[in-house]
């Protein structure tokens, strides 16, 4: 039984899962919402003035006011603490985001400058184990490619981009270089995964490699490179496989089978090869 048949069966039969009634109790719910909001508003007014708000409707006491709780006096302290925690969280997120953007920017810069080879898509030291061996093999294969294929240099564009002579639409050329480079690296990673034994667990280095790849994939999806519908579809399928890969627990064979099925259904590897080659 194919995946498609099963998905059709699911979509058909799952309609019977907790079927909601055709009639929605609009009025009853609306009355409750209105009463609750009125009670809340009355509570807030009482907290400020010490007495009920003049115009506030009386609502039978079903909803205890939040302001009656003794924790109110700590509310400002809790609020400040929450703001502080939120601020730290946003700061950390921004730093991580900046780091990812910086990494992508450096890829663009190195591709555009054409003076230095792009950094290897692989960690300096490949991890031990089956995936590590497969990774080293893939690394050597990629490194043996012509520099044009690996670095995706486009000399005629490079000079124009470097000297600022590009027209308004031409930054897309730089994006194409970056995305091809990215797809080439993704192809290497997916090849490593596909070639590894089904029960091989992903080691930390490969995991980091996949996480970096996922970050860059998402950045590309949000960039002009993601505006091309064919490339977007390819990046989205790549993103799905990367997420499946990163969510896999240890060497779980069934989860690996799921990844293999996605690879087969989406024909990801061959599409990555075509995309990396600019076809």
């Amino acid at each position: 039984m194919s995946d498609e048949q099963f998905e059709e069966f699911l979509k058909r039969e799952a309609q019977a899962y907790n079927p909601p009634p055709s009639a929605v109790p609009h009025e009853e719910m609306w009355e409750t919402i209105r009463a609750s909001r009125a009670a809340h508003a009355a509570g807030e007014a009482r907290a400020v003035t010490g007495r009920p708000a003049a115009g506030a409707p009386r609502v039978g006491g079903a909803m205890p006011s939040r302001t009656d709780k003794p924790t109110l006096k700590y509310a400002s302290l809790i609020g400040m603490a929450a703001t502080l925690v939120l601020g730290i969280g946003i700061g950390r997120y921004a730093l991580q985001r900046d780091a990812a953007v910086t990494q992508l920017a450096s890829q663009i810069e190195s591709a555009i400058s054409g003076q230095q080879q792009p950094s290897s898509p692989f960690p300096d030291k490949m991890p031990d184990g089956p995936i590590g061996v497969a990774g080293a093999t893939a690394a050597s294969l990629v490194n043996s490619l012509p520099s044009g294929a690996r670095g995706m240099r486009v000399p005629t564009r490079v000079a124009a981009v470097r000297t600022g002579e590009v027209a308004a639409g031409e930054p897309n050329a730089a994006m194409q270089i970056v995305s091809r480079n990215h797809l080439s690296r993704a192809e290497a990673l997916v090849s490593v995964v596909a070639a590894s034994p089904a029960d091989a667990a992903m080691d930390s280095l490969t995991g980091r490699w996949a996480r970096d790849m996922l970050t860059n994939t998402r950045l590309l999806l949000d960039s002009p490179a993601g505006e091309d519908p064919v490339r977007r579809r390819l990046l989205e399928d790549l993103e799905t496989v990367l997420v499946q890969l990163l969510q896999r627990t240890g060497g779980a064979v069934d989860e690996r089978a799921l990844i293999d099925r996605t690879l087969e259904r989406t024909q990801l590897l061959s599409r990555l090869r075509s995309g990396a080659a600019g076809i």
Binding site: N18, I33, S36, E239, V243, Q244, L258
Partner: protein, 180 residues
């Protein structure tokens, strides 16, 4: 009236605008709550709580997403937190040992495929079940699910893929009946 105009009217305190906002979105939120909870009282509570919170926080809405997406993000949060509370209470009442029963396939005892499918869906982890119900049952797109749940589109797709795989495993002994 656009979302922005409607919100402005609600923030000015226009009761008709409040009702208009409610009418425009209540059906879809109620349906989702029903699908997730499978219980009328809970579906009502979750829907009401969603709108109460939404009206409270409407002033914070910045328009980064559509109003519908924003409302559904509140709804999914209310529903999932509410269901967790219910499960905790239910677990205390009946004892935790009984909970895993829904995960065990019993071919002879449960010959009905639909019942088995229902049980298999119930047995999915919360995250998988939410994405599955939203996508395969209620027809949300991955973009809508991602925005509502605060996850990436790829994560939503991966969760759905895993949910389907788990359901397929759970129903493997019915394989011949899927296509019928």
């Amino acid at each position: 009236m656009t979302d922005a105009q409607l919100i402005a009217e609600v923030l000015r305190g226009d009761p008709r605008a409040e009702r208009q906002l409610y009418d425009a979105h209540v059906d879809r939120i109620y349906r989702l709550a029903w699908r997730m909870a499978g219980d009328e009282t809970l579906a009502r509570d979750f829907t009401q709580d969603t709108f109460i919170r939404a009206f409270d926080k409407l002033g914070d809405f910045r328009g980064d997403s559509s109003l519908s997406t924003w409302l559904h993000s509140i709804a999914t949060s209310v529903i999932l937190n509410g269901l967790k509370k219910v499960q905790r209470i239910h677990g205390r009442e009946i004892g935790g040992d009984e909970l895993p029963e829904v995960m065990i396939p019993v071919r002879d005892a449960e010959p009905d495929l639909k019942l088995r499918l229902r049980r298999a869906i119930e047995g999915l982890p919360d995250g998988y079940r939410t994405v599955f119900v939203m996508h395969d049952v209620e027809g949300f797109t991955h973009e809508e699910i991602g925005a509502a749940l605060g996850i990436q589109v790829g994560t939503s797709k991966a969760q759905l893929s895993r949910a389907r795989a788990k359901l397929r495993d759970q129903l493997s002994d019915f394989a011949g009946e899927w296509a019928s």
